[in-house]
């Protein structure tokens, strides 16, 4: 199935801004993050089709996943 992945802020460095990628059925948000070598401890807001989701959310063909890093500095 095809998932469009949108990366934001520091996640873009060495990766991409937006890309449509082929993933096997049953792929979760966590699987996509792992495949992109994004540490789970750095994951902030995660959205599928502009709605907030959790790591274990199973993706469906044609969905768009957006990943933002966790920012905590002041």
């Amino acid at each position: 199935m095809k998932i469009t992945v949108k990366l934001f802020a520091s996640f873009r460095a060495g990766r991409f801004d937006i890309e449509t990628v082929e993933y096997p059925e049953g792929t979760t948000v966590a699987d996509v993050a792992d495949s992109l070598k994004l540490p789970q401890s750095e994951l902030g807001i995660m959205m599928v089709n502009s709605r907030h989701v959790k790591l274990e959310r199973v993706l469906a063909d044609g969905e768009t996943l957006a990943l933002f890093p966790l920012l905590g500095g002041g």
Partner: protein, 297 residues
Amino acid sequence: MPTVKHWRCFRFWAVGEMGTLPIFVRDHAEGQLLPWKRQVEAAERFGVTLAHVEGVVLERGLLPARYQRNCAALSCGDQLTLFRSCVAVVGCGGLGGYVVEELARLGVGRLVIIDPDLFEEHNLNRQLFSSPGNLGQAKVQAALARISEINPAVTLVPIQEALSIENGAGLLAGCQVVVDALDTIKVRLELADVCGGLNVPLVHGAIAGWYGHVATQFPGDDTLQSIYSSWKSGKGVEQTLGNPSFTPALVASLEVAEVCKLLVGQGTPLRGRQLMIDLYSMELNVIDMAESNRESS
């Protein structure tokens, strides 16, 4: 009757020679503005604080001249509201320094500044109140010195303590708005809880490298809990991305704009929304944080 005459005579003398503070203010206003030197003169002559004089000026519908460029954006009535307001700034580092400076210049009457830390050399690239001469000094004391210099009519309460769930309600009591200028996610979440309990809005800001975000959490909302719902422990990506000078300045300014709107009750705050700032790509994104926009699974 002679006694009454004498009293009247005394009153006449008192008003004629000394005047009263409101009369002094009226007589020395230039148009709608009272120049700073007159504000200082009034405080000295009547033995009151500069803040007291500022209150009298604003209550008469006049404006301390230092705020004249606030006009149009803010009315005299708004300026009086700001003067009567108390804002807590939690954290006095990269974000907090700029937040405190801007709130003081804006004319917010009372600022409660909370930070346990001392200035260190690695703060010098961005923390507004840090300088080579005050390394080792408490950040809140440096803030007090700076604000006393740039706007002595502002009452600044320095609290050199770490905020926690235990002491938060006591430290923030009496504030109308709280600003999150912290650098740890754990304490941010505690602060959000404390503000919810106190029924006070919280203006949140966080930064890392070229990036930042801002959101305003109203009582009853769980915006911060949602932003950090995947956090388990430790710091965010700022640990590896650092903090250059421009990101805190920008995010702090956005936070102050939110505070200003909340205090004067105008404009549209970032309620239920998070503004994401990417200065590297020069992109701004607004994320809908409303509970209705979350999947339950």
